[in-house]
């Protein structure tokens, strides 16, 4: 493992932080829900990382950065005025389903455009806490531990929210006739 002692800070920053930039941008988007705040949040994270890089031991850069991101977001929240729906922010979507076409549940999966559409709609209609973990793990590619770090909850909480969210999506697919019912109770 390369030693950080004697390595210039800008080298460490380039080596450990810049490669994670896209992941940080995705996670910031998932966490803040609008692109202005996401950009601010990533900039704050990069600044804090720059200032702390000489104390970083080189282990698990992504987890280190996600902790910084979480702290930066917490700080932004404390400074924030009471929540207002800003321009560009979408209100929570409400989704209706046409159940009339759902016949017997199929033996196999019916994948395709409709499958994707039902999944995307289900995601949007999930409760906020469940939607957030699905975004962090299934869309942004974080591990359970990384997602737990970002949100500031135990890994077990990430797991239960995530699994429940996917079960909920699965039930919507069954109702739409696109996925088989579970064969066990």
């Amino acid at each position: 493992m390369p030693q950080l002692a004697g390595r210039a800070p800008e080298d460490a920053f380039e080596r450990y932080v810049l490669p994670e930039l896209e992941v940080l941008a995705r996670v910031a988007r998932s966490v803040t829900r609008n692109s202005h705040d996401a950009e601010d949040l990533v900039q704050e994270t990069l600044l804090s990382a720059y200032r702390a890089i000489d104390r970083f031991d080189g282990q698990h850069p992504r987890a280190w950065l996600l902790t910084i991101l979480r702290n930066a977001e917490a700080k932004r929240h404390r400074k924030r005025r009471p929540f207002l729906l800003r321009e560009g922010e979408e209100p929570a979507a409400t989704v209706g389903y046409d159940f009339s076409s759902a016949a017997r549940s199929p033996e196999q999966l019916v994948v395709g455009e409709q499958f994707d559409a039902v999944v995307a709609a289900s995601l949007r209609s999930l409760p906020q806490h469940q939607r957030q973990v699905v975004e962090l793990v299934d869309l942004d590619g974080l591990s359970y531990a990384e997602a737990a770090e970002v949100i500031g909850v135990p890994v077990g909480t990430v797991m239960s929210r995530l699994h429940r969210a996917r079960s909920r999506i699965r039930r919507r697919l069954v109702a739409a006739g696109l996925a088989p019912k579970r064969a066990w109770p």
């Binding site: 380039e14 810049l18 591990s143 077990g156």
Partner: protein
């Protein structure tokens, strides 16, 4: 800290019930080596659990496809910000970003 479920027992083949409990964690690559091996082995042999796994795999794949691409201009601005930090440090050392 709670961990993803381990399979119980000394049996070589895990039961369907055990596999179902571990299935989502397994598909997320979050189970330990022993559990991963047992689930994989069970899925090869069990049609019902195999179908269950396929269902969740497709849900994960559809979710990944639903991710909107990042705004390229935003990403470019952030890259430029990061590079300039790397080269010359923060603009206003010691102060906030004034945002």
């Amino acid at each position: 800290m709670p961990k993803p479920p381990k399979l119980l027992g000394n049996k070589e083949m895990a039961s369907c019930m055990q596999v179902l409990r571990a299935l989502q964690s397994y598909l997320d690559g979050q189970t330990d080596e022993v559990t991963t091996g047992r689930v994989a082995k069970h899925l090869e042999a069990c049609r019902r659990c195999g179908l269950e796994a396929a269902t969740y795999r497709e849900i994960k794949a559809a979710l990944a496809r639903s991710a909107a691409p990042l705004n390229l201009a935003l990403l470019e601005r952030l890259r430029a910000f990061g590079s300039s930090l790397s080269r010359q440090g923060p603009d206003d050392e010691g102060e906030g970003t004034g945002l």
